[in-house]
Amino acid sequence: MPDLGLDVLFKGKNMLRLLGGLWVAVKISLISVAISIPLGILLGIIMTSKNPIIKAVTRVYLEFIRIMPQLVLLFIVFFGSTSALGINISGELASVIVFTVWGTAEMGDLVRGALISIPKHQYESSAALALTPAKTYIYVIIPQTVRRLIPLSINLITRMIKTTSLILMIGVVEVLKVAQQIIEANRMSSPNAAFGVYLTVLLLYFIICWPISMLAKRLEKKWG
């Protein structure tokens, strides 16, 4: 068996540092998702509007965010805010901003899709039962939408966690950055450590994302 240099993980607090880095990634994703969900629901409802101007504006927002590489967005917010606005924000804050802007767009599109997938006769039979439009949304439309939405938004969380691997580029010390630091520090003693350490990082991402993804699948089955 080739030397994977796994021993470096057990030097000092290296494993703990790696887990700490993972926590940074997960924390940023969770905060961003927590903000994205309410904003996305709002955006999704707005996107079903019949007003052509509102439709066009939200469409452009969504397409723009999707087309732009997240890394470019991160650079714009992190470096751009300093040079253009003269304010200095932390890498973590910049990450949360970008992930929220991205998550809101994706979430909005999911909400829009879930809303328009509710058949028209659900609205009509609610109306025939004398439910006002507000009550129709509260008791009939939103509960059905949420059921369709939860599995999809859980998948969005895993996508966000994976995408946090980009934020080391704006100086956030997350799991991948910690891995790099460990490898650098042990370049002399364990020159082969890169493979083993990155493999461990891969495993950590998997351990976090796999249960989330399984949960989404189960919920999808249960409510589908």
């Binding site: 025939a128 039962l129 004398a130 509960p143 059905q144 059921r147």
Partner: protein
């Protein structure tokens, strides 16, 4: 209920052209006519699910106006059942029935549960209260939809081709429920393609074609001696179908 000069069009296409009739308390009106004659649209207009271009619909003297503020209180007087059994899939049978009485009429929960259970019992679904719509057959769903509408204590019921989407063997169980309602004195407007049922249940038959009422008669007169050539032709189609089946 009074319908006066009701006119409805989708863009340039006139669907209902100056339709007028009065529904008396306890009367069962069956509306028949070829597909696309405006039968369903008429029911939808009566319950203000569609905006209308002209005319006036009133119940107990109050105008039912699309988009008006008091629509919710007027709609409580009208129960409606649709062709596509439209139960709420995320709620159990009982919760489907309870939703509007509790949230719109703000009635007491135990009282409504009692009534809902009795009504379910009466339509032969006493054991289905905890089931979800996806676990029911089409005929069962449609009976639940009828109970759901009845639980609001409507003054009248509208049935929009409620058996059209059902398998033939389930049609009967739904029609029996409606027949029972007719015997109980419920005011109803029924749109249907089931001619034998129409004859059995109706106090009055309206024959609609191209958005006009061209016959308005008691069922015996309509089915035996239709006045217009169009109604004769229409009824002949059904006779032919029946003779073919034999």
């Amino acid at each position: 209920m009074k319908i006066e000069h009701l006119t409805k069009s989708f863009e340039d296409n006139v669907v209902l052209d100056d339709v007028s009739f009065t529904v008396h308390k306890g009367e069962v009106i069956v509306v028949v006519g070829p597909s696309g004659c405006g039968k369903s649209t008429m029911l939808r207009c009566i319950n203000a699910l569609e905006p209308i271009q002209g005319g006036k619909i009133t119940i107990d003297g109050d105008e039912i106006l699309y988009g008006s503020k008091n629509l919710s209180s007027l709609r409580q007087k009208i129960g409606m059942v649709f062709q596509s059994y439209d139960l709420f899939p995320h709620l159990s049978v009982l919760d489907n029935i309870l939703l509007a009485p509790l949230k719109v009429q703000k009635r007491k929960k135990d009282e409504v549960i009692k009534e809902a259970t009795e009504l379910l019992e009466r339509v032969g679904l006493g054991d289905k209260a905890k089931s979800y719509p996806r676990q029911l057959s089409g005929g069962q769903k449609q009976r639940v939809a009828i109970v759901r509408a009845l639980c609001m204590h409507p003054e009248m019921m509208l049935f929009d081709e409620v058996t059209a989407a059902l398998d033939p063997e389930m049609v009967r169980e739904v029609l029996d429920v409606i027949l029972g309602l007719a015997k109980g004195g419920m005011t109803m407007i029924i749109v249907t393609h089931e001619m034998q049922f129409a004859r059995a249940v109706a106090d009055r038959v309206l024959f609609l074609e191209n958005g006009n009422i061209i016959e308005d008669a008691d069922p015996d007169t309509f089915f035996e001696n239709p006045k217009t050539e169009r109604a004769k032709q229409f009824l002949n189609i059904f006779n032919f179908e029946r003779s073919k089946e034999k």
